[in-house]
Subunit: 251 residues, 2 copies
Amino acid sequence: MAAQRGEGDGVVTSPEAPADVRERARAIPEAAVARLAVYLRVLSGMVEQGVTTISSEELAGAAGVNSAKLRKDLSYIGSYGTRGVGYDVEVLVSHIERILGLTRKHSVAVVGIGNLGHALANYGGFPSRGFPVAALFDIDPDLTGVPVGGIPVNHIDDITSVCSEREVSIGVIATPPQAAQAVCDRLVSAGVQCILNFAPVVLQVPDYVEVRKVDLAVEMQILSFHVARRADEAASDVVNGIGVDGVVIRP
Amino acid sequence: MAAQRGEGDGVVTSPEAPADVRERARAIPEAAVARLAVYLRVLSGMVEQGVTTISSEELAGAAGVNSAKLRKDLSYIGSYGTRGVGYDVEVLVSHIERILGLTRKHSVAVVGIGNLGHALANYGGFPSRGFPVAALFDIDPDLTGVPVGGIPVNHIDDITSVCSEREVSIGVIATPPQAAQAVCDRLVSAGVQCILNFAPVVLQVPDYVEVRKVDLAVEMQILSFHVARRADEAASDVVNGIGVDGVVIRP
DNA sequence: TACCGCTTGTGAACGCATGCACAAAGTTGA
DNA sequence: TCAACTTTGTGCATGCGTTCACAAGCGGTA
Ligand SMILES: NC(=O)c1ccc[n+]([C@@H]2O[C@H](COP(=O)([O-])OP(=O)(O)OC[C@H]3O[C@@H](n4cnc5c(N)ncnc54)[C@H](O)[C@@H]3O)[C@@H](O)[C@H]2O)c1
Ligand SMILES: NC(=O)c1ccc[n+]([C@@H]2O[C@H](COP(=O)([O-])OP(=O)(O)OC[C@H]3O[C@@H](n4cnc5c(N)ncnc54)[C@H](O)[C@@H]3O)[C@@H](O)[C@H]2O)c1
């Protein structure tokens, strides 16, 4: 895989050793990977607007980060900028895609076709970014065979055969929390090594399986924490003789 | 900090000074706040199971973190454990709720009642955790007045009056990306200071507004990165004479 | 060609988060 | 009452991620 990649590709003057790329990929901090995905989205927008070149300062502004961080992030994947000029947008796009593994399609299976599962199955943003939804599963027999977003729902009991047939590499769990661990176990035994979990439970998986969770209640509670913190600050500022808008009261 | 902490604190025999709470809240790292929300969920489950006491080891296992980290996280909010015994589940729940600001209700407004907006509006997990969905907005006149999850949709033009009437403190953006910034601006001028954004765009907001984003495409791409990394490793291991299952080939 | 101005790429410093390891503090049982 | 045992709370070291600041490198210009 690494061997096929960069060799003789015009921008890279000398071919890099495969081991080098591997080392580099391993070394990219997870936080930087998440930002690279954001940069990629911004850059894709730029391509559509016909922008050919962009400086770190501009891109950083559009991505909402500081420019030093952006350059450091990009340096993890190599040096593809031109000093005094900036980055070629298309070159950057292709390199980020390569590092993120987007040169390959990743088929997705959604398990639990309820409120959320329907929304996910109907969402156009996944296929268009290289994540085709290849299978849907539910335990409800009434749903079996019903097409959602163009794909017929399979019964959960067929998960192993269907997943391997359709080469599913990412499993999305949108079942009630009670069912999540069982579903997860079945996905793992079906050979799925990447899981995106919407159910509010902590999944137990083998080491080689990568899990990411999206927990909306936690997000809400983090926001709540900030509201509370602000309220506390305001209260104590008033106590300290400072009004809510920063004006000193009764000096 | 260490000095203030323990003062006369049976379970909470004497009321703590507001300033103390404020200082402590300010100092909690964001990462710890996110985990506290997870601990809270696990603990709530424990209460339902009738568990009254839990050790850091047990709770850490259930929350998927190591126990030292858990104890450090809990130490940010105070010392409410009993050495040799563990933590009283209910006491811990109430203190985490207090720190997260969950003693107060936080009304939520969802903007953009499409695929995702419907799922969110119908989701029972928010109201039950102290985040009542108080208002829904969409630009589509056909949706105006239609009840979704029991709440009639308002037109986006009424956002300011409805939000202040219903004391909305958290705004959820589930509109197409093109509309997201405009919607965000309207929420902010309506006085909403916390925003949860599902649209794949980087929102620009004043400093005092707290934004959290949920970006599924980014999550997918992070998973994709790990798939690619694994594939690279496997490939290079084979090159290095190690088979995919760790067996040395052609030694 | 030599110089100038601009932007990248990165070494180094800093700060935050994590994990270890243990003293302190409590319980239990004799 | 005391000793043995359990578990918390935290000081400290380590590692990771962020930010600063500047040398190196490139294009443009005379
Ligand atoms: N709806 C939301 O907006 C939302 C938001 C945040 C989190 N969540 C979480 O996402 C999950 C799904 O939420 P929802 O609102 O779509 O719930 P839902 O009840 O509408 O749908 C759940 C679906 O999963 C199916 N199911 C149940 N057990 C199953 C099993 N063992 N195998 C396969 N399918 C099974 C059910 O038949 C149903 O169709 C829940 O865990 C919820 O907490 C939902
Ligand atoms: N559906 C998903 O599962 C999913 C997953 C990830 C991200 N998202 C993101 O969430 C957002 C919503 O996705 P969706 O699938 O629900 O889209 P959708 O097209 O089904 O719904 C969008 C809704 O927003 C409304 N809207 C448009 N402009 C508006 C405005 N200015 N003010 C108020 N309402 C407006 C539309 O009338 C529509 O009802 C998108 O940004 C999408 O990228 C969706």
